[in-house]
């Protein structure tokens, strides 16, 4: 499947549209606040439209994963070609993008969340030109990560996204914004360095034929084929110790992003200090890059190590679920509570993918999507109240239900979706993750499922503290949500409800790829084990 416009593929368009938007924004005079806002919105809406086109034309039967033929909307051009360098030889790097069932839900999610983040950013007043320019650049970085099939390109996008994030938190954030921004930046950079090392090790181990010449490559799909590994190279063979080391390096790089215990503490700080829209993007999209990276890169390139470390992965998932839930329960800051609930919910993704079977993998992928929509809603909800009351203390509120009925109605959907109420999307992905994980790790899954009680407890407790009871007098002049806020919350609520009843639109997208990924990892590892 190929869709082109002006001879440029749709994935390039959807990735670089925000950069175009950024250029336009930068050209606008900074007094034209409305123009800047609406331009940003227009470009992200355009991006959503492209996402819908992709959704419509995506072939559900193709699997992708390790075959270029299975990838869709592929574009591949030579990007960097340095003919000869003294000791590395020829460096040839491709601009190689394409999507399969793992990436397409993330592409949709990124487009959606970015658009909603822009709507939510309309209330920003401080140097908005810079703000929207950075926001759009961030958008490109995120989208790029999800479409890149070349490791180098992936890495570039991964780093591109870091910089705007740093400034968005560090400039437009709360009182401790600099601490949070630096913590986020350095923590992620640490992960990036590990990833970079693994990437370089892979580069020097893998060769492909390019015409008549044999060259090293960053092509991810080539890295998934054991035959491409040079004889005698560092990562050659199966189950060798360097492969485990490389896998762990990659894993830590991604785990920081998830964030998996014990690398999660940057998240609450970043969330608390970040402006609402950035929290939404952070929780809605950025966290998924970690689990996406594991699925896209770590699992299929190192299937032997992946299988070897399934239990530790599941165990980290378990800790995330339970530990995150307990920590959430003890929070007094609304945003911090949601941040920890993210830790808990992302644990379900880890557990589901560690199951390494169809239901678990699909549960995990679907949970990534659902967590994106649900947590985005939760952060928006916090943002709404923070904009009005300038406090996020859970104990400062009470009785908002009567004062802000529309707001409270939407809040109920988000809260109950977060605690896994059937009929809302979160339930299905959680249930599938657990059902899948139970097949592989019986007791660990039972222990993890205990989290559903804790989640219900802290969610309902929060709901009670903020929305039930009587309204403190100082909030008598709070107003219900306005049209703009409805515009960002209602679409998400609708998606959460529809997918909760009829999940197939998203499940169908990822079904083939989930199966292919599981089979590929299991078979490769299986062959590996036989070979030993």
């Amino acid at each position: 499947m190929e869709i082109k416009f002006l001879h440029i593929g749709i994935l390039t368009w959807i990735t670089f549209l925000p950069v175009l938007g950024m250029i336009v924004v930068l050209l606008l005079p900074k007094e034209q606040k409305q123009a800047i806002r609406w331009t940003s919105l227009a470009f992200t809406i355009l991006q959503v439209i492209l996402a819908v086109v992709i959704f419509q034309n995506f072939d559900r039967t193709l699997a992708g994963i390790n075959s270029k033929e299975g990838m869709q909307f592929v574009e591949q051009y030579r990007w960097i070609d340095i003919k000869s360098t003294s000791w590395i030889g020829r460096i040839a790097i491709d601009y190689f993008v394409g999507i399969d069932g793992i990436s397409v839900p993330m592409v949709l999610l990124t487009a959606l969340i970015s658009c909603i983040a822009v709507i939510s950013s309309f209330s920003i007043e401080k140097s908005i030109k810079g703000y929207f320019a950075l926001l759009l650049l961030l958008d490109t970085g995120m989208m790029g990560v999800f479409v890149a099939l070349d490791f180098f390109l992936f890495y570039v996008f991964w780093e591109i996204m870091l910089l705007p994030m740093y400034f968005l938190i560090g400039v437009w954030g709360g009182p401790r914004r600099e601490y949070a921004a630096i913590k986020f930046f350095i923590y992620t950079l640490l992960g990036s360095v590990l990833m970079l090392l693994a990437m370089l090790a892979l580069y020097f181990s893998v060769t492909i034929k390019d015409g008549n010449e044999v060259i090293h490559t960053f092509n991810m799909l080539a890295m998934m084929n054991p035959e491409n590994f040079v004889h005698g190279s560092l990562l050659e063979g199966v189950g060798t110790s360097w492969r485990y080391v490389a896998y762990i390096a990659l894993f830590i790089g991604f785990a920081i992003k998830v964030p998996a215990f014990p690398f999660h503490t940057w998240l609450p700080d970043a969330h608390v200090e970040a402006p609402t829209a950035i929290s939404v993007i952070l929780a809605g999209v950025l966290l998924k890059m970690g689990t996406y990276g594991l699925m896209r890169i770590a699992f299929p390139i190192f299937p032997d190590a992946a299988i070897h470390y399934l239990y530790p992965l599941a165990f980290i998932g378990f800790i995330n679920i339970i530990y995150g839930a307990y920590c959430a329960m003890a929070q007094k800051d609304f945003k911090k509570l949601i941040a920890y609930s993210s830790v808990s919910h992302m644990g379900i993704v880890l557990l589901g993918m560690a199951a390494m079977n169809t239901q678990g993998m699909m549960g995990a992928m679907f949970q990534m999507f659902n967590h994106g929509t649900i947590t985005a809603m939760l952060f928006l909800i916090v943002g709404v109240i923070y904009d009005r009351a300038h406090t996020r203390g859970l104990d400062d509120f009470g009785g908002l239900m009567n004062k802000m009925p529309k707001y409270s109605g939407i809040m109920m959907i988000a809260f109950f979706a977060a605690l896994g109420l059937p009929g809302l999307s979160g339930f299905i992905s959680e249930a599938f993750s657990f059902l899948g994980a139970f097949q592989t790790f019986k007791w660990l899954t039972i222990a993890s499922a205990f989290g559903i009680i804790l989640t219900a407890a802290y969610m309902l407790w929060t709901l009670q503290r903020v929305f039930l009871g009587t309204l403190p007098e100082k909030w008598n002049n709070l107003t219900d949500i306005n049209g703009r806020e409805m515009a960002m919350l209602v679409p998400l609520a609708v998606i959460v409800i529809i997918l909760g009843i009829y999940p197939s639109p998203v499940l169908d997208l990822m079904n083939s790829s989930a199966n292919a990924l599981v089979d590929f990892v299991k078979n490769s590892a299986g062959i590996a084990m036989l070979g030993q």
Partner: protein, 683 residues
């Protein structure tokens, strides 16, 4: 799809329609919301009536079922999640129960909830409750069951917390939801076990697989475990020991809600779940179920004796009766357990509505005399209401007779059948404790129910002036009462007032064949039925005796006042306090589960902030420290050497500058001296 099934689908969806209509357009309807909801439910009830009659008069007893693939995983091993609905006799009866009660509660609420702040929301929530409850009734698989199971939990949460401005109401809703989640956690584990082993969650598929000898993880022990785990869901929802604590608190909700959800239907869902899973329960699982039911029945009956809040008394009596049903199913009296669910639904819903009628009247009267302190639900402030509220009184008498198991009532039939079952169970397994508890609780029930009747309706009213203002409730409230009273007579269930066994009910809801392996199977239905027959008269005699004893004791204490209850209380103060405080379950759970959880949460949050994040910050600090030290090192040592070199050079420069005078003669002298020295050295 069979036409009756299509109709059932319509029955299922109509209340959802009511919910959607009222939640979005409630403001428009406002005062008419109640009428809209009630009208929709009325239509739904008529449809159900038709479907149930059609189904139950059909002689083939065929089970209609329809499934569709909800999610197909397309994996190498076929893996599909099928959902669907089914209609059998049990389901048809249950449909009837749910809709009758729901419709009458809708009707009753027109009067009771009039002028409420969230009138339209109230009716909307009733709609979504009815929808979810019907979903539980009609589903043919565990997955959908679990989904609707949680949805009724949601509607229960919303309705308990209807007056959420009151902290106690908000607390009660939260408690109900979380306690139920504990049960659902077990339920979900059961579902995971079944899904693992059968790759399907439909009742049919699982039962036929078990019948073919495919056991979970190949062992009958796991089959027992699966049954028990699923039963955990029932323990939560049907408020069985040890998760019974949420139901009394749930009385914070409006009284019609208590009647609908917390007496007649939702709490009976747990019993219904046991009915649905009955074929796969092993003898061991059934025994555990029987004991849980018996213990529940006993504990809550003892608590009910020592309560003064009219709704609390009814709440504990509900728990106790639910325990009866569960016990009945556990001992193998399948039809009797289910029948008790049905008969209890009618008379307990009636009791709650009647209590609602009383509370309504009391509120009204208290309002008139400007008394805002007296608790309108405390029976000690009632008394002598008989004359003022005749319809409420007489219907309540009928309900109380029924719950006490007096002949000619529906309650007698079902309770007697359960008790006969416990005797038969004793015969097969030697578990004597079960019938002992069963009969003892029968006596207790009669006692505490009549205690309530005598205190509320007889004697003198606390305040004569206030009594003036007590009036009978309006017709929307009395019609439901009369209807429930009518269906509390035996004739609706069996034409023989002394035996349920001959009636249509038992024939239509005959015990399904067990699918578990012979070795772990409970007594067969035939043998059990045979033994039941033997025990029938003994059971009847004993249960009548116990009921009579209970009523007589209540009369001695509260009607003839031959004995003083206060003196008894004074004689055993510790026991009374223990019972009055509900065996201290709440305190125990507060100290252990709740405080424990919050304690762990605080501990882990501290650990996270201080240790984990401390390490991160520590690493950052360490890095900065290294940076500072290396900075200092750089400054002092490295730079020092450089500077020292420079200084040194400078010093020598200074020294040598002295020599460099710029005068040629001096240089020549230096050169000469130097040359001479060299000559001397290299001579």
């Amino acid at each position: 799809m069979h036409s009756l099934l299509t109709l059932s689908l319509a029955i299922l969806l109509l209340p959802l329609f009511s919910f959607v209509l009222l939640i979005f357009f409630g403001k428009k309807f406002y005062e008419k919301s109640g009428h809209v909801g009630t009208a929709i439910l009325g239509i739904d009830f008529l449809l159900t009536f038709y479907v149930a009659i059609q189904k139950l008069t059909d002689t083939t007893n065929e089970v209609f079922s329809y499934s569709f693939t909800w999610v197909d995983f397309h994996s190498t091993i076929p893996l599909k999640l099928d959902l669907g609905i089914m209609l059998d006799n049990v389901g048809a009866v249950m449909l009837m129960v749910v809709l009758l009660v729901s419709f009458l509660v809708h009707l009753f609420s027109l009067g009771y909830m009039k002028g409420d702040v969230r009138y339209s929301k109230y009716y909307a929530y009733l709609g979504i409750f009815t929808f979810s409850m019907l979903g539980i009734v009609l589903t043919n698989n565990f997955f959908l069951m679990y989904m609707f199971w949680e949805l009724v939990g949601l509607s229960s949460y919303l309705l308990i917390g209807h007056w959420y401005e009151k902290k106690s109401a908000a607390d009660a809703g939260k408690k109900a939801f979380i306690t139920n989640r504990v049960g659902d956690f077990g339920f979900f584990i059961g579902i995971m076990i079944l899904w693992f082993n059968y790759s399907s969650l439909s009742f049919d598929h699982i039962y036929s697989s078990i019948a073919h000898g495919i056991l979970p993880f190949g062992s009958s022990g796991w089959l027992t475990a699966a049954g028990i785990f699923i039963f955990c869901g029932a323990v939560g929802k049907s408020a069985q020991f040890p998760l019974h604590v949420w139901l009394p608190d749930a009385m914070e909700g409006p009284t019609p809600v208590s009647a609908l959800i917390h007496a007649a239907t939702m709490v009976a869902a747990g019993v219904y779940l046991v009915v649905r899973t009955f074929p796969m329960l092993t003898a061991d699982a059934l025994m555990i179920i029987a004991y849980i039911g018996a213990v529940t029945a006993f504990i809550s009956a003892t608590i009910a004796i020592a309560q003064y809040d009219i709704k609390k008394i009814l709440a504990y009596s509900t728990i106790s009766q639910l325990g009866y049903m569960v016990m009945g199913l556990g001992v193998g009296s399948y039809s009797a357990g289910f029948m008790h669910l049905v008969t209890h639904a009618a008379f307990k819903a009636g009791l709650f509505l009647a209590s609602g009628s009383i509370i309504h009247a009391m509120h009204h009267a208290l309002h008139h005399v400007n008394d805002h302190h007296t608790d309108a639900q405390d029976i000690r402030f009632m008394g002598g209401l008989r004359k003022k509220m005749p319809i409420t009184f007489w219907t309540m008498i009928v309900f109380t007779l029924a719950i006490s198991g007096v002949p000619l009532t529906s309650g007698f039939l079902s309770k007697d059948a359960i008790l006969a079952g416990t005797l038969a169970y004793n015969h097969f397994t030697g578990q004597t404790l079960i019938p002992l508890i069963g009969f003892f609780v029968a006596g207790l029930t009669a006692f505490y129910m009549f205690r309530m009747i005598f205190i509320v309706f007889f004697g003198e009213h606390h305040d004569a002036h206030r009594l003036e203002h007590v009036h009978e409730s309006p017709r929307t409230m009395t019609i439901p009462l009369i209807t429930f009273a009518a269906v509390s007579f035996f004739a609706f269930y069996s034409f023989n007032p002394f035996s349920a066994g001959d009636g249509w009910f038992f024939q239509k809801t005959a015990v399904p064949e067990s699918v578990v392996p012979q070795a772990v199977r409970a007594a067969s239905a035939e043998a059990f039925g045979e033994e039941l027959h033997h025990q029938h008269y003994l059971a009847m005699g004993l249960s009548l005796t116990m009921a009579a004893l209970g009523i007589l004791t209540a009369m001695l204490f509260y009607y003839w006042k031959k004995f003083s209850a206060d003196k008894v209380v004074a004689a055993v103060p510790r026991l009374f306090t223990f019972l009055n405080n509900k065996w201290y379950f709440d305190e125990l759970y507060q100290k252990t589960a709740v405080n424990g959880t919050i304690g762990i949460a605080k501990l882990l949050a501290w650990f996270d902030a201080k240790i984990i994040d401390g390490i991160v910050n520590g690493a950052a600090w360490l890095t900065r420290l290294v940076a500072v030290i290396s900075g200092k090192f750089d400054h002092i040592v490295v730079d020092g050497i450089v500077n020292f070199t420079a200084y040194f050079t400078g010093f020598f420069g200074l020294v040598f500058r002295r020599i460099q005078t710029g005068k040629v003669q001096t240089y020549i002298i230096f050169a000469l001296v130097g040359a001479m020295v060299l000559f001397y050295v290299y001579r």
